[in-house]
């Protein structure tokens, strides 16, 4: 159990020029791998994003009250979007 990888907080700036925002966390042995894991986990490899990673242990927090992050799935995997599947109207909302 001693070999558990540290936890990292992930911040991503999307293509729309907004600030980096916190999208979640993950485990990685070091910063370089945390960045790559973030790319695979949190952007599904959407091009043109900038990623910051910070060791969770290095964050000093006030009493937090952030609003929840949203997520832009990769554009190249169209089938990840619900609208890829045509569901007949009779079936109702899905």
């Amino acid at each position: 159990m001693s070999s558990q990888w540290p936890l990292w907080e992930i911040f991503i700036r999307g293509q729309h020029g907004l600030n980096h925002r916190h999208v979640g966390s993950l485990h990685a042995p070091d910063a370089e791998m945390a960045i790559r894991n973030a790319r695979d986990v949190y952007t599904r490899r959407n091009e043109g994003v900038s990623i910051w990673v910070v060791k969770s242990a290095d964050i000093t927090a006030s009493s937090p009250s952030d609003k929840g992050p949203l997520f832009e799935p990769s554009n190249s995997k169209v089938y990840r979007h619900p609208t890829f599947f045509d569901i007949p109207e009779e079936v109702g909302h899905m």
């Binding site: 990888w5 993950l26 485990h27 990685a28 042995p29 370089e32 791998m33 790559r36 894991n37 695979d40 986990v41 599904r44 490899r45 995997k77």
Partner: protein, 258 residues
């Protein structure tokens, strides 16, 4: 569509597209076997991305193959309705997954070749080939970045990870030579400016391997022996089982739509 070069025969170009597409199909299949079984969630997700890229590339290469052949076969019918002897992938990609180290080593040895191949293909005289290569190349550059880094880290990790990575390298090494062996199809492709002479890719590949293994503190075997046969349809026993899985539904229920 790029003008189908008069100087190259359709059969050779078809063969070439199958070689590219069968490599990505079979490797993608192998990598997808890990989904849900990887050592850590982050790797499970990353490896699935690699497999997804490879499946996407398969659709492009085999789609092109069907188009060149002109007999109405699609990427799916080529993937699901050929028997082993008609498959043209390298033996390397059908090697069993083994432990995670073997899977990563196989990925690295292939990625290093794959990226150079795709870079050369971006300059192909056939614009369809060049286009696929450009899209696939962006994905594969990332595959190589990942796999080379993991090989380095695990080679230079613990004694056990070092031992496993060296064993993986020794085990897979005799399957790398096939990537650089040319036959009449390769000669025709090179002649027409569609694809590089496979042998021309070897020096840079060796340099990449040497550099990464050096950092990984692993020893490149000095054996020059190569297993071969995949490119002309003579495979290892493993491919038959891969196809039994892959093709089961299409074979059991001919003509059904899924």
């Amino acid at each position: 569509m790029g003008a189908l070069e008069a100087s190259v025969d359709r059969a050779s170009l078809f063969e070439f597209a199958l070689r590219m597409g069968d490599n990505t199909l079979i490797l993608g299949h192998r990598v997808s076997e890990w989904c849900g079984h990887s050592p850590v969630l982050e790797e499970d997700i990353a490896l699935a991305n690699t497999a997804l890229d490879l499946i996407g590339q398969t659709q492009m290469w085999l789609g092109l193959g069907g188009e060149i052949e002109g007999k109405g076969r699609t990427a799916d019918s080529l993937a699901y309705l050929r028997d082993a002897a008609a498959f043209r992938n390298l033996l390397l990609v059908e090697r069993p997954n083994g432990d995670f180290g073997q899977t990563l080593m196989r990925q690295f040895l292939f990625d290093a070749w794959h990226l150079d191949m795709l870079k050369a293909l971006e300059r192909s005289a056939d614009s369809r080939v060049a286009e696929i290569a450009a899209k696939a190349g962006r994905e594969v550059a990332y595959h190589l970045e990942r796999s080379s880094d993991l090989v380095i880290r695990l080679g230079d990790g613990t004694d056990e990870s070092h031992r496993r990575m060296q064993a993986a390298l020794d085990d897979l090494w005799p399957y790398t030579g096939e990537m650089f062996l040319a036959d009449a199809v390769d000669a025709a492709m090179a002649e027409a400016g569609i694809a590089p002479d496979p042998a021309s890719l070897k020096p840079h590949w060796q340099a990449v391997i040497g550099e990464v293994m050096g950092e990984a503190t692993l020893t490149v075997p000095d054996s020059g022996y190569s297993h071969k046969g995949g490119k002309r349809g003579v495979h290892t026993e493993h491919l038959g089982y891969i196809l039994a899985d892959l093709q089961f539904l299409q074979r059991a229920y001919p003509g059904a739509k899924w």
